[in-house]
């Protein structure tokens, strides 16, 4: 499952052009162009509800966009057949926001799941691979526990072990820091850094915790109002003068992302605008 042959190394791993998505009558993306190069950690940041997770679901082909082109490792995700998509997904590790461990399997079986379903490996080998990955996330001792016996941080580490069990070329971390205490958060950060540096896995990090992201990300793309509002290295971006970045990085309550949900005129709704209807 090593990175596959074809495209030249300098070409972007993921290429998105003119992405447009409308969900439940709400425009999520309107003309997103995005290139994610091989290697390194690319962070996708943005206010809650801007469709960062939706973007990831587009990349993995779980949700077809309304328009646009998405090419991942030479595969046209939008037009790919189910088999092609499955072949692509075998090379992608995905860490879900809420870990998504299978509740009726032990930690060991959860990590072994992708191996057992796709490949017919001897039990001995499965055992070795799974224990190696569990060791990497520091949970080899928890192999026989059920997911319900783990804390949130441990569950996320198990999910991470599961995501890397087949040595993917790309890992997508969907909000890996949400709801973690500082210790668990740093453990995850350390793992992301280690996986990226030692295994050379391309990583996409979807998050909105700036302090944490800054420690690992090589590039940041800021998604806002259905577009890529800004992109660049973390230092560049925090110095940048786009109103989006300024609001987001300074955490201002009001700005291009409005404090108020769209509403009719306040005075008019209270019936105070003298001139009548």
């Amino acid at each position: 499952m090593n990175a596959t042959s074809a495209p030249p190394p300098n070409e972007a791993l993921i290429r998105i052009r003119g992405l447009r998505t409308v969900l439940n009558g709400k425009t999520i993306f309107d003309g997103v162009d995005l290139d994610i190069p091989r290697g390194g950690v690319t962070a996708i940041m943005g206010p809650s509800g801007t469709g960062k997770t939706t973007l990831m679901r587009h990349i993995t082909g779980q949700l077809p966009p309304d328009a646009g082109e998405i090419v991942v490792d030479g595969v046209d995700v939008v037009r790919a057949s189910r088999e092609q998509l499955f072949a692509l997904r075998e090379k992608i590790g995905y860490l879900f926001q809420n870990s998504a461990l299978l509740t009726d399997f032990t930690v060991f079986e959860n990590v072994a799941f992708p191996l057992r379903q796709q490949l017919r490996l001897p039990e001995e080998l499965v055992r070795n691979i799974v224990l190696t990955k569990l060791q990497a996330v520091g949970l080899r001792g928890a192999a026989e526990l059920m997911p319900s016996e783990l804390s949130g941080g441990m569950m996320r580490r198990v999910a991470l072990a599961r995501a890397i069990v087949r040595d993917p070329m790309l890992i997508i971390y969907d909000e890996p820091f949400v709801g973690l205490d500082p210790i668990a958060l740093n453990q995850i950060l350390k793992l992301i850094r280690t996986l990226n540096q030692t295994l050379g896995i391309t990583s996409i990090l979807v998050a909105h915790e700036l302090a944490a992201v800054r420690q690992v990300a090589d590039r940041i793309h800021l998604v806002a109002a259905g577009k890529i509002a800004a992109a660049g290295a973390p230092e560049e971006l925090s110095r940048g003068d786009s109103p989006w970045t300024r609001q987001f990085f300074a955490g201002e309550a009001d700005g291009p992302v409005p404090f108020h949900y769209p509403a009719p005129d306040y005075a008019a709704e209270l019936g105070l605008s003298g001139g009548g209807a």
Binding site: T60, Q62, F86, A87, R89, E90, I92, Y94, F96, Q97, N98, A100, L101, L102, T103, F113, P114, Q117, Q118, R162
Partner: protein, 256 residues
Amino acid sequence: MNAAHRAFAPLAAGLAQIGACGRFLLHVLGAVPRSLRYLRETVRQVFFVGAMSLVIIMTCGMFVGAVLGLQLYDVLSRFGSAAMSGTVVALALYRELGPVVTALLFAGRAGTSITAEVGLMRATDQLDAMEMMAVDPLAYVIAPRFLAGVIAMPLLACIFNALAILGAHLVAVSWLGLDNGTFWSNMTASVDLWTDVVNGVWKSVAFGAVVTLIATFQGYTTPPTSEGVAYATTRTVVFSSIVVLALDFVMTAFLM
């Protein structure tokens, strides 16, 4: 115009739901061949939906049989035909009560647990996670449950019937004093293997398919919230009961 629109909206929503369920059935049937590689999962599900329902099925079977024995003995003795009690109990069970009551109990016991389980898998992204691990959740999660329902329901109905006959025998023979030989010989004289027993088995196969289809559909399409799962579970019981009874009428009309 607006009022008419509002009046028809639930109807349209209901039709859309039926259409979606039909499409889901096609997808599930399409996934059945692919699910054969997860045979072990199907075996596990037969255990959960079948073996775990045994206690309720056996207890209820016993009581339904006992009450049938009691009622029919009483009613039939008014016509001097108490000897036919066993026959009527057996016919009522094999043709109607066995498949239908088992299906209703199954919807309450196994259907709800399937909906809740699949709904929770949806709510906690487990189904998406499988998609991402290149495992088709329809083949791995849904089809094995569907198959398990189709396999388990007729077996449960047979067990229900056997226990009910036992219950009826207990009441009519041991308690009310009907002659043991009369009970059995009248039954064997008029119950036919094909038109009574086997047709009942067909019915319960169909009910097994319908109940598990509704249960998995409700779970699979549930909104990923805790209320979503709760409502879906309720809907499973309500829709299963209605569809089972309606289908029972249709199948009876065709099988007669």
